[in-house]
Amino acid sequence: MKRSLEEFRVGAIGSILDEYKRAMAELRFVLENIDAEDYKRIVEGESEHCHSIEVIMNHVVRAGYGYSNYIREALSLEVLPIADKQIPQNEIGAEIEGMMTYCYETFESDPPITDEQVENVYFVTRWDIKYNIDQLMEHAIVHVLRHRRQIEKFMLLHRSKGAGL
C-alpha cells in the first residue's frame, strides 16, 4: 500500500506499472502462506499446464517475460530469450522480482515509452489476438489476478481435503 504521493508513478504508464506491482504483491502474499507440499501438489482434473501451484508460477513468470518481449520487439528494443525454468519455491520471490524489473526497464528504456506509443503501437500475439501496448498490459495484470484467484481456489481445495482426512 502506498503511504505518500511520491510513491505513485506518474501518468497513464505509471498507473499501469503501479497496478501491475500491486497485483504481483497480492500474489506474493498468497504464496508466502503456502507450504512446500501444497506448492507442488497436483490438482486432479486440471489441465497439465496449470495443475499445481508450482506449474502455475513457472507459467506466470514466463508469461511476464513474454509480455515485455512483445513490447520490446514492437519497439525494436533488446529482447532477452525466455528460459523455460522450473522454479524452486524458495526462489519464486526473486524470480518475480527479476521479471518485474525487466518490465519496468522496458517502459523506462532510453527514450522511455510514451503515452502515444501505448495507444498506437500494435502487434499480434502467438495466440493470434491483436493488442496495443495498453491492452497487453491490462491483459498482463489480469493474468496475475486470475492465477492468484486460481491459487486461492487450489488452497481451499487442499485444505478441504486435509480437513477430511
Binding site: M1, K2, R3, S4, L5, F8, S15, D18, E19, R22, N120, Y122, W127, D128, I129, K130, Y131, N132, Q135, E138, H139, I141, V142, L145, R146, R149, Q150, E152, K153, L156, L157, S160
Partner: protein, 164 residues
C-alpha cells in the same frame, strides 16, 4: 457482491474467472468509498484537470458506474439482449447511494453474461465487441479493461485521499 471464502463461491470457466475478479475489484472499491466522508466525496480535488470526470471522487464514481453500464451494453448489443442506452449524461450519484449503484451495475453485468461462464477461448477470441479501422476488442479484452478501469480509478482515489 461478496468475498469468496469457499469453493462454491467461485464461478466456473474463463468468463467466470473474469467476473470473479471484477467483483473483487468492485468490492474493494466499495469498501474504500465507505471510509470517505461526504465532504471529501464531493470535494473538488483536481480543479486543473481537463477531464471533467476526474475532478472529484464523486465525478470519478459517476464515470465509473456509467462506464460499467457501457461495457455491459456493448456485450448486450452483440448478443441482441435488450438494453437501454445510457447516452453521455452522467447521473450525479450521492455518497449515500454509491455502494448500491456499484452493486447494481455489477448485477447488470452478471445478468448480461449469465450462462456464458464457460465460453471457450476460441469463442471469446472470436467475439469482437468493438472494432475500428485500427483498434479491436474481443469480449476477454473488454472484460479485462472493465476490471482494470475499476482498479485504476481505485488507485486514483488512493492518491486523492493522500492530498486531503
Amino acid at each position: 457482491m461478496k468475498p469468496k471464502d469457499k469453493l462454491e463461491d467461485y464461478r466456473s470457466g474463463g468468463i467466470g474467472a473474469l467476473m470473479d475478479e471484477y467483483e473483487r475489484a468492485a468490492l474493494e472499491l466499495t469498501r474504500l468509498l465507505e471510509t470517505i466522508t461526504e465532504d471529501d466525496y464531493a470535494r473538488i480535488l483536481d480543479p486543473e484537470t481537463e477531464d471533467s470526470d476526474c475532478q472529484s471522487i464523486q465525478t470519478m464514481m459517476n464515470h465509473v458506474v456509467h462506464a460499467g453500464y457501457g461495457y455491459a451494453n456493448s456485450i448486450r448489443g452483440h448478443f441482441s439482449i435488450p438494453h437501454k442506452p445510457f447516452g453521455d449524461e452522467r447521473p450525479q450519484i450521492q455518497k449515500s447511494e454509491i455502494g448500491d449503484e456499484i452493486e447494481k451495475v455489477f448485477e447488470y453485468t452478471i445478468e448480461t453474461l449469465g450462462g456464458k461462464w464457460e465460453m471457450s477461448y476460441q469463442e471469446m477470441n472470436g467475439l469482437i465487441v468493438y472494432r475500428t479501422e485500427k483498434f479491436s476488442e474481443n469480449i476477454e479484452q473488454l472484460l479485462e479493461h472493465a476490471v482494470m478501469h475499476i482498479l485504476r480509478h481505485r488507485r486514483q482515489i488512493d492518491k486523492f485521499l493522500l492530498k486531503i
